[in-house]
């Protein structure tokens, strides 16, 4: 597979190294000449010292025949431009962008980036797993990025407590498939009665979020006030 990696920071460097180690053909583009030379010294002549945001340099790097373009610079705007050019000018089948600001995720998706990797979101998710939250927890993206793995922690006031999945009105395109109770994960059957403290794992489209929240989390503040 021919992979074009844009951005020679830590992520791009290690990504390139791992891909080469796995036997893939890789080109790394890094606009900083000194950094590009430093990487080339370490991993060989696979580094092009140019700005990947410019179409002519993407062409020079072989974007026309790339199977994947991974834009992993530290700049969301650059990553978006790179993926858009790769997709629309060079017909790259798969574009992957690093998104540093989670607020940019929807924009990236809307503009046709195939896959998003958000380190911020991942770290946030990891932190949220250890602290009580009253929101749905996004565990990760699946497929081409249009599906999300979501966790809901059922707490006092949740409308789902005492109910079975078949009694809940799930949004279309979303399904509950596992429950974690006392640290043990079990498949969620239609007649499993949910209890306080359960962590329910769902898979669904991002737009299912509000309805899922309503069914599993509910309006906790209102419940407490009541």
């Amino acid at each position: 597979m021919f992979v074009l990696v844009i951005g020679g920071g830590k992520v791009g460097y290690y990504l390139t190294k791992e891909l080469i180690g796995s036997g893939h053909e890789v080109v790394l583009m890094e606009k900083d000449k000194d950094r590009a030379n430093q990487i080339a010294d370490e991993i060989g002549s696979v580094v092009i010292s140019h700005d990947g945001c410019e179409g002519k340099y993407l062409a020079e790097a072989g974007a026309n025949r790339a199977d994947i373009v991974a834009a992993v610079t530290g700049d969301d705007e650059d990553n978006l431009v790179i993926c858009q050019m790769a997709k629309h000018h060079f017909d790259v089948p798969r574009t992957i962008a690093r998104v540093n600001n989670p607020k940019n995720e929807s924009l990236f998706k809307h503009l046709g980036v195939d896959e998003l990797i958000s380190p911020t979101r991942m770290i946030l998710g990891s932190i949220e797993q250890d602290i009580p939250v009253h929101e749905l927890l996004h565990l990760g993206a699946l497929g081409e990025g249009e599906l999300e793995l979501i966790e809901a922690h059922l707490q006092v006031g949740s409308p789902a407590i005492g109910k079975a999945p078949r009694d809940l009105s799930m949004p279309e395109g979303c399904s509950l498939f596992a429950v974690i109770r006392d640290g043990i994960a079990t498949p969620l059957r239609p007649d499993t009665v949910l209890a306080e403290g359960d962590k329910v794992i769902a898979i669904g489209k991002a737009e299912c979020g509000p309805k899922l929240h309503e069914q599993l989390i509910g309006d906790l503040e209102a419940a407490r006030a009541g």
Partner: protein, 154 residues
């Protein structure tokens, strides 16, 4: 010259870069003369640089008469000097890296490259990126042969 031959050979196996440049023949003659008394092995390598927009295994070099001529001329020049030269054609992303890799693979103890030097217009000296790469990365001795290219006709 028995006294010279009793000394250890300057090199046993040399990789010679074949650039296809007019200087190439002089370079081969020079290396061949040094190789002859010791029966040192000569490997002439011509590298065709393929840019990233094309797959590396695309057969570009094999179809070119010009490239074939570079190899034939190199072999002929060495033969005329009484030395056998094995010619090798490589397709690579980077000439310097390909030459160094070949030297490593063949366990060459010498890598010879030519450096064309334009004398007209005061001589626009430029060493390029291949030679610095080779000097930095080759595991063996490197000879850079710098000669003026023939005068251009105005």
């Amino acid at each position: 010259m028995p006294s010279e031959l009793s000394a250890p050979p300057v090199f046993r196996r040399a990789v010679v870069a074949l650039s296809g440049h007019p200087n190439g023949q002089r370079l081969i003659r020079l290396v061949a003369e040094l190789a002859k008394p010791y029966k040192a092995e000569l490997i002439g390598v011509h590298v065709v640089e393929i840019d990233w927009s094309m797959p590396l295994d695309m057969d570009l070099a094999g179809r070119s008469d010009e490239i074939q001529q570079v190899l034939d001329v190199a072999e002929g020049t060495a033969e005329a000097a009484g030395v056998q030269l094995e010619s090798v054609l490589l397709q690579a992303r980077d000439v310097g890296a390909a030459l160094v890799d070949e030297a490593v693979e063949r366990e060459a103890d010498l890598l010879v490259v030519g450096l064309a030097y334009r004398t007209k217009f005061g001589g626009d000296f430029a060493i390029g990126k291949t030679i610095p790469y080779i000097l930095k990365n080759a595991p063996c001795a490197v000879w850079v042969v710098r000669e003026p290219i023939p005068e251009e006709t105005s």
